[in-house]
């Protein structure tokens, strides 16, 4: 390598001979090269600091290939070394080559050397040419390069900082980012920023810090975009000059001095405004071809346009707008800024705004300067503006004029929208909708309503204020209108300009049965109602609606449907959820209205607001739940049914779902206890809160009593039947149950006298026994015969018990009686005792049952009634009559008198039949007890027939009554049986 040959670093390490040989060889070679290749001379350096380009020129003879080496002078670091082919500049006769430095050329000094090359032969290096940097000692201050550089977005830039003398480098910052720096020279440090983003208007700061805090050096770099435009178009407003417009496109991030400059056909159209996106530029004449050039530091952009003038006419905005206003139309006039428009065929748009609505109408004409706006509304505020375009070769609409406003004049009102409401009683009201501002055409001053009969041509007019929207009527009180004639109400509105046309409605509706209402389902567009089309129908329709719950003078709303329509959608701001509305379709509303169809519906069904009125009653073991149907106002939806729940604590158990809207339900099979039931009505929205009733199930004793009475009644009926049968078959019964008792047969020695048993009877116990003459004398029996004083007969029987210690003399005659065993019969209504066996011999009359002497019949009342004691009393009487000695028998008081007395009774029977036995007598231990038993005591002591169920002495009333009933029944039966006797 040649460089190696001249390298000052070669050292004489080889042997001297070797070195000499090599030196001679190389010297010979170089000597040959010097002859063939000339050394470049007059090397010149020209630096462009902005582009960091170094232009190197030299005189190089015939050579075309050169080796160049560029070094940083201070550190002798190679920046560039290469072989380049350079031709001679014919003008200067010098070789020129440009080199672009990565760093600003000011950063440090550069040394340049050149040598010629011819293949492998090279010349000697030229003299070193040095490009002086800014880091020379004469520049003592801190510097940073490049300054104010403009670079495109995304580029890389190397900055260098030359530190002031006697200062130590700190750092290089780009914005606020510290960059990694490399040292280029004693005082110079460099850092490269890559992929730079766009900077702001005042650029991006690059700072160099040293060890001196007060020393701050920096530079500003502007990073932006080259221009990029669009939508370049030129047109004319005045038919002479040109106005070109374009869109600036993206922001270049370059402002102020660095902003983009625009040229239209080489005319400066630069706008200093920063943010104006749309730019325009005027050219005084029409040139038909235009070129737009946009230039900034980073590049330029061109757009072209071409057109004939007549194809690019964009009229200016009309000026001096004025108007001539009427009630229903207005004329708008305007002027043009340029007189040249007078011959221009124009098409103009007139836009008028009223009530927030905009309407455009188009007019044409040469030099158009006015337009008539028809179909306006009286008393309406209008705002009008105009714009125009060329009618021929229309290019675009011009600018809107400034708007003008006017208000149209007044006029007579429109006819009101009239309908009526009629109650069932012939009253009602004619209703009309208040005229809107657009309908009233001025301030309404009043209404007049005329009722008239077209057949009789009689009428009656009512004048009303402007605030009235309804007038009542009563057809029954309109005498001259009464009858079946047609009655028509005509309503007219009045304002300052006059009366409106009349609006009529017929007040008579045919009395037909209301058609069934079908359901209307609400949708987003309202209640869609449709009906059958009648091909011959020429009348219009009215659909009215009101709350279904209202029946009298209802606030009704309506809509009129033109003839031929078969459907309408009803929507109203007054519709509320949960309210049922009725819709009725009428035909021919103004002449002869006829109700065609009815609907009912809800905008939204809700859960019922009320609750059913629930009541319950017990029916045996069942529970009947009844309730009233819910009022329509409370149902707030179509009732679908009722849910019946039973409450179990806090939980409700569904018992039944009554979807057929029944209002009662029987829950069966409940035992005693308390039950809680809840009934809830429900709609499609759900069920209401419900009503709860609590019922306590009671024992159904009433029913038990009723059943008992029924059973007794049936039993009584059976007894009556049995009695009747018995009566009819009494002979058979007599024969079967009471056969004739055969006569006793006495032995032959019965007449022989036997010794009497003398007993001294108590004088008070004397019984006068009368022997009946019809008595069979042959019949022997034991009889009691008073020993003395038969006159005492009437007293003593049934008297107070006598002292048994008193001597009583009774004679018992030992007579033979029926020896058949005594056979008590239970139950039997007849009362008898042993002593009554032969009572037929006494003169005490009785109506009781006559029993045979061999049968003892007792009546033992298990209920313990007073009759139950009669046998004992009778027995007692008869025994005392037989010489009984009363004997105190201690006995505790007992409630069960019947049972207590039964046993002694039987004993007494045996005694009486067999002979004397002591017998207890009734005696109360205390007077109090006697009082308590007062009702019983007299009977006990009362004389009674031995065969009778009745006491002979009067008893208490109650007992007397009971005894009468009982005894009458017994007597009847006894007589029944007795009557069977021959």
């Amino acid at each position: 390598m040649p460089r190696l040959a001249v390298s000052p670093s070669s050292k004489p390490n080889c042997s001297l001979i070797g070195l000499i040989c090599i030196f001679l060889t190389l010297s010979a070679t170089h000597t040959h090269a010097r002859i063939a290749v000339t050394i470049p001379e007059q090397v010149s350096l020209l630096a462009s600091m902005n582009t960091q380009q170094l232009s190197i020129s030299w005189l190089g003879g015939e050579a075309t290939t050169f080796d160049l080496i560029i070094l940083r002078t201070e550190f002798n670091e190679t920046v560039f070394y290469g072989t380049v082919s350079v031709t001679v500049n014919q003008e200067s006769g010098r070789h020129e080559w440009n080199w672009t430095s990565a760093e600003p050329l000011e950063c440090t000094s550069l040394s340049v050397r050149i040598r010629s090359r011819d293949g492998q032969m090279t010349s000697d290096w030229s003299d070193t040419q040095i490009l002086q940097g800014s880091d020379v000692p004469s520049n003592k201050d801190t510097q940073i390069y490049p300054q104010d550089r403009i670079v495109p977005v995304g580029s890389n830039t190397t900055f260098c900082c030359i530190v002031a003398e006697r200062e130590v480098f700190g750092s290089i910052q780009y914005r606020s980012t510290v960059m990694s720096a490399t040292r280029l020279s004693r005082r110079t440090y460099a850092a490269t920023v890559v992929n730079q983003g766009p900077s702001r208007a005042s650029g991006t700061n690059v700072l160099c810090f040293t060890d001196r805090s007060s020393s701050l050096s920096g530079a500003v770099v502007f990073v932006g975009y080259p221009p990029q435009l669009s939508d370049f178009v030129c047109e004319t407003h005045d038919l002479t000059s040109t106005v070109c417009q374009w869109n600036n496109g993206r922001d270049t991030s370059l402002y102020g001095k660095r902003r983009t400059r625009y040229l239209v056909n080489n005319r400066d159209c630069t706008n200093n405004s920063l943010l104006q996106q749309q730019t325009e530029c005027s050219v005084p004449q029409w040139e038909e071809n235009w070129t737009l050039v946009a230039v900034n530091s980073l590049g330029q952009y061109s757009l072209t346009d071409s057109a004939e003038l007549s194809h690019r006419v964009c009229p200016v905005a009309p000026v001096e707008l004025s108007s001539v206003v009427h009630a229903w139309n207005a004329t708008v006039q305007w002027q043009w800024k340029y007189s040249s428009y007078s011959s221009l065929a124009l098409v103009c748009q007139v836009e008028f705004t009223a009530g927030g609505y905009k309407t455009k109408r188009t007019f044409t004409g040469v030099g158009l300067r006015s337009a008539v706006l028809s179909d306006l509304h009286p008393v309406e505020d209008y705002s009008v503006q105009v714009r125009c375009g060329a009618q021929q070769n229309f290019w675009k609409w011009g600018t809107w004029s400034k708007p003008i406003s006017f208000k149209t004049k007044t006029d007579v009102p429109d006819a009101p929208d009239v309908w009526m409401w009629r109650n069932r009683d012939g009253t009602g009201q004619v209703i009309w909708k208040p005229l809107t501002q657009r309908q009233s055409h001025g301030q309404i001053t009043g209404y007049s309503v005329t009722f008239w009969n077209p057949e009789e041509n009689r009428q009656h007019t009512v004048i009303l204020s402007q605030y009235t929207i309804a007038v009542p009527f009563n057809l029954t009180q309109m005498a001259y209108l009464s009858g079946d004639n047609k009655v028509i109400a005509s309503v007219t509105a009045k304002n300052a300009d006059g009366m409106s046309p009349p609006a009529s409605v017929s007040l008579r509706l045919p009395d037909v049965e209301l058609p069934a209402a079908s359901r209307a389902v609400y949708t987003d567009e309202g209640f869609p109602l449709s009906w059958q089309s009648n091909a011959n129908a020429t009348c219009s329709f009215v659909v009215e609606w009101h709350e279904t719950s209202c029946t009298y003078d209802c606030p009704v709303d309506w809509i009129k449907v033109p003839a031929g329509n078969t459907n309408v959608s009803i929507e109203s701001a007054n519709f509320q959820p949960g309210v049922r509305y009725s819709f009725s379709l009428y035909s021919c509303p103004s002449d002869s209205p006829e109700l065609l169809q009815r609907w009912q519906g809800y905008t939204e069904e809700l859960v019922p607001s009320g609750s059913v009125r629930l009541s319950s009653s017990q029916q045996g073991s069942d529970i009947l739940l009844t309730w009233r149907s819910m009022p329509m106002v409370d149902s707030r939806g179509f009732l679908l049914g009722y849910n019946v729940y039973i409450s179990n604590g806090s939980q409700l158990t569904l018992l039944a779902n009554l979807s057929d809207l029944e209002t009662s339900y029987t829950v069966k099979g409940f035992s005693m206890g308390s039950y809680k039931f809840t009934v809830k009505a429900y709609t499609s929205a759900g069920e209401e809160t419900g009503t709860t009733v609590i019922i306590a199930m009671e024992s159904y004793s009433d029913w038990l009593i009723l059943e008992i009475l029924t059973s007794l009644g049936i039993l009584s009926l059976l007894l009556v039947i049995a009695t009747f049968i018995c009566y009819k078959k009494r002979k058979w019964v007599k024969k079967a149950f009471y056969p004739d008792i055969p006569e006793p047969k006495l032995p032959s020695d019965w007449s022989s006298a036997q010794g009497p048993l003398d007993v001294k009877p108590s004088p008070h116990s004397m019984v006068h026994i009368v022997e009946k003459p019809e008595w069979d004398s042959s019949k022997e029996m034991l009889v009691v015969i008073p020993e003395e004083d038969e006159d005492d007969d009437g007293q003593g029987i049934g008297d107070e018990p006598v002292d048994t210690d008193e001597p009583t003399s009774l004679r018992y005659y030992n007579q033979v009686v029926d020896e058949r065993p005594i056979r008590p019969r239970f139950p039997d209504s007849s009362t008898s005792s042993a002593s009554s066996l032969d009572s037929a011999h006494t003169d005490v009359t009785y109506t009781g049952i006559q029993t045979s002497g061999s049968s003892l019949v007792f009546q033992l009342d298990p209920q313990g009634s007073s009759e139950g004691h009669q046998p004992q009393a009778a027995h007692s009487v008869s025994c005392r009559g037989g010489g009984y000695q009363p004997q105190m028998q201690p006995r505790a008081p007992s409630d069960d008198m019947g049972l207590a007395s039964a046993e002694p009774l039987l004993e007494a029977q045996a005694a009486c039949s067999g002979g004397y036995k002591p017998q207890s007598s009734w005696h109360f231990d205390s007077p109090m007890e006697a009082e308590e038993r007062g009702s019983l005591a007299p009977s006990l002591g009362s004389p009674t027939s031995i065969a009778s169920t009745q006491f002979l002495l009067p008893d208490g009333e109650e007992h007397g009554e009971e005894k009468r009933q009982s005894s009458s029944a017994a007597t009847w039966f006894t007589n029944l049986l007795s009557s069977t006797k021959p």
Binding site: I144, V220, N272, L274
Partner: protein
């Protein structure tokens, strides 16, 4: 913006108003000082590298006769001269910045315009206070703005120079408030404004 004064930019002197002319001048100077401070704050928000930097060098505006002025009126006359130079510097800043960066409409630019108007108002006020037949005072900017802004050159130098100008405005507006307060005290005999 952190704070904005409610006081209008130009305030005509209402006849018979309660505040004296010197007092009103002091108020204007104090308001100008607050606005200059705010302007510097806004500038530092734009050029953040200035936030911790204190530049070298002395005053841009200096008055050789300031120390020699003995009376308050003479001091105000010197102050008026310094304010004129400040106004000239501010005009130059506005001119150069609009030339370099374009006509921006941010908070800084708005406050910059306010300060210029307030400074002009203060110049008119001080002129009215101390102008005599012998001493005719001008209110036009005393700066031609045709010289290099700073030795460093480049747009970075413009920024540094602008920073120094804003510091000068703060200094001289504060100085104006003090000097005018002295005049107010002498003329009105009270510290109260």
């Amino acid at each position: 913006m952190a704070e904005q004064e409610e006081q209008p930019i130009t305030q005509p002197d209402p006849p018979g108003s309660g505040q004296s002319r010197t007092g009103r001048a002091v108020s204007i100077a104090r308001l100008l000082h607050r606005e200059c401070t705010r302007l510097l704050q806004l500038y530092k928000e734009k050029e953040t590298f200035l936030s911790d930097h204190t530049p070298d060098g002395g005053r841009i505006v200096s008055l050789s006769s300031e120390s020699e002025a003995s009376s308050a009126e003479e001091q105000v006359q010197c102050l008026h001269s310094a304010l004129r130079q400040c106004l000239g510097l501010l005009h130059c800043v506005i001119l150069k910045e609009e030339e370099e960066w374009g006509k921006l409409e941010g908070d800084y630019e708005t406050m910059r315009k306010n300060v210029r108007t307030r400074l002009e108002h203060l110049l008119h006020t001080t002129k009215d206070l101390v102008e005599t037949e012998e001493m005719i005072l001008e209110v036009t900017p005393d700066h031609q703005c045709n010289e290099e802004v700073d030795g460093a050159g480049g747009l970075f130098g413009l920024k540094m120079w602008t920073y120094r100008v804003l510091l000068e405005l703060i200094h001289w507006s504060d100085h104006a408030a003090q000097t005018l307060h002295v005049l107010h005290r002498e003329r009105e005999g009270t510290e109260e404004i």
